[in-house]
């Protein structure tokens, strides 16, 4: 156990290997773009990328050529439209094919649940009379062994080699607290072989111990902790900074044009050494514009039982 604090560069270099299945989860909230950018910068290859909603970060990673395969349930730019780099590879094999394996949201969540709970499969009431199982043989059918014999769809466990989770605060050991949208980070982290926690701020263990109900990821499953403010931009961290909707709209234009995409990657990823450079290049006025007014929760009384 002990202190697991490291840099993003070292965490990605040591824990993400070519050919790995990587999950950078977060349902619109707390998507760790900084980790995705570091994976691009280190030119990792042949990754299988898993995410419910690939979002702009996976479009960037797919455009940069790190991925061989995508496992997902909704492939779009939320509230905007398409992910054009991913579409080019699926529709035109441009510049190369992208293997896909798709589920519905519930199916994808339950793949992580099965992985996290060490189950051979997970049953759900979904996919009835849908064409999805016809194009994904991993979705299978079974009857309940109990009296009613209900037919359910089953999905196999998803066990990423690496799950990367962003959070608001964590201890150096890796006990991580999240508030706001919870997505399926907990399930994706417990399902993974290796876990990287990226926090907006490192806090003392006493801060976590004062509010243990808010801990989503326990240090027992965490391999590395990276303190990186604004690691989720243009996604958001509830209470820290807003979603940069203007960038999501802008990405639609950038990703339509392969040359513009390459130029963007060069300017904002390859030519920068780290996310600290990205923050500086974006400029303080931009970060100020994304800062919300405070709206704090009241405190609860856990009681002291000495």
């Amino acid at each position: 156990m002990g202190n697991k604090v490291t840099t993003m560069r070292d965490a990605i270099a040591e824990l993400v290997r070519d050919g790995d299945t990587v999950a950078i989860e977060g349902f619109t909230h707390l998507i760790c773009f900084a980790a995705g950018h570091e994976i691009i910068r280190q030119r990792k290859r042949d990754l299988t990328l898993a995410r419910m909603t690939p979002d702009v970060i996976y479009d960037q990673m797919i455009g940069a050529g790190v991925a061989r395969k995508l496992i997902f349930s909704w492939l779009g730019n939320p509230g905007v439209g398409s992910l054009h780099a991913a579409r080019r590879r699926i529709e035109q094999q441009d510049p190369e094919p992208l293997e896909i394996e798709e589920y519905s949201h519930f199916g994808m969540v339950c793949r992580y649940v099965a992985g996290a709970a060490n189950l051979p499969f997970f049953p759900i009431r979904s996919y009835y009379e849908s064409d999805i199982p016809k194009v994904n043989p991993n979705i299978k059918w079974m009857r309940s062994p109990y009296e009613d014999g209900t037919e359910v769809a089953v999905v196999p466990p998803l066990r990423p080699d690496v799950t990367i989770v962003a959070c608001q605060r964590a201890t150096p050991e890796g006990d991580a607290q999240i508030w706001g949208l919870l997505g399926c980070q907990k399930e994706a982290a417990f399902a993974a072989d290796r876990v990287i926690v990226v926090c907006e701020e490192l806090v003392d263990e006493s801060v976590i111990r004062r509010d243990p109900n808010r801990t989503v990821i326990p240090s027992i499953i965490v391999d590395a902790v990276v303190e990186q403010p604004y690691s989720c931009h243009p996604s958001f961290a509830q209470g820290y900074y807003d979603r940069d909707n203007a960038f999501y709209l802008k990405w639609d234009e950038i990703s339509r044009d392969p040359e513009a995409l390459d130029a963007w990657l060069k300017e904002w990823v390859y030519d920068l050494e780290s996310h600290a450079d990205y923050i500086e290049k974006m400029g303080p006025a931009h970060w100020e514009s994304l800062k919300p007014e405070p709206a704090t929760s009241g405190e609860v009384n856990y009681g002291r039982y000495a």
């Binding site: 349902f27 519905s104 009431r125 979904s126 009379e129 064409d131 979603r243």
Partner: protein, 256 residues
Amino acid sequence: MSDPGYTKNEIMIAASARLLAGVRNCFVGVGLPNIVCNLAQRTVAPDLQLVYESGVFGARPERLPLSIGDPTLVSGSTAVTSMFELFAYYLQAGLIDVAFLGGAQIDRYGNLNTTVIGDYHRPKVRLPGSGGACEIAIHARKVLVIMRQAQRSFVDELHFRTSPGHSGDPEHDRARGWWGSGPTNVVTDLGTYGFDEETGEMTLLTLHPGVTLDQVRENMGWEPKVAPDLGETPPPTPEELRLIREELDPEGVYTS
């Protein structure tokens, strides 16, 4: 035709909001459904709880969210759940009264395609896929669809069935044992539709003011079934228009 004083989107929003009268909770999507639900909450469904796929129950957004995962949905809501809880305990358990779905293609039985145009393995257009739509179609007690009407979207045969609607055989539909039963209503820029209880087929209930039956026929890929008492959609009221324009979409992002 003279200017009716409202846009196509505005009559779609008003007609859809009225379908939410008395509803307790609704699974909201972004764009038009978001405005529809917020309008209904201010008019015909004051107790309506807004549920977002991102895991928010009882949202009170202070601004119009661009995506269903906006931080404004979290602050001031009654509950934030993990995705597993939302889909398992709320949706699959039958707690969701109404949900909105849309798609690139719909057929006469309300089956929806949000996956692909063309062949799945050699797609002409790769669409986003299911997201939660497949299970929402199965478990929400009522499903409302808001879509613009055109030959390419109201099709005789879907290229891919992402989310199931009615089967065309009501006996089969009743035996499914799902909470849902296929879409209950479709609202387009030309009119409003229900689904025939006997055949499960989409049936034109009202035409929007100034729209003709021929226009409806020109914009769908099958011969539409028409209700014997075909009516006219009531236009948006001044109060509905005021709420839409001044409070819900002041910049006209979705309504102009």
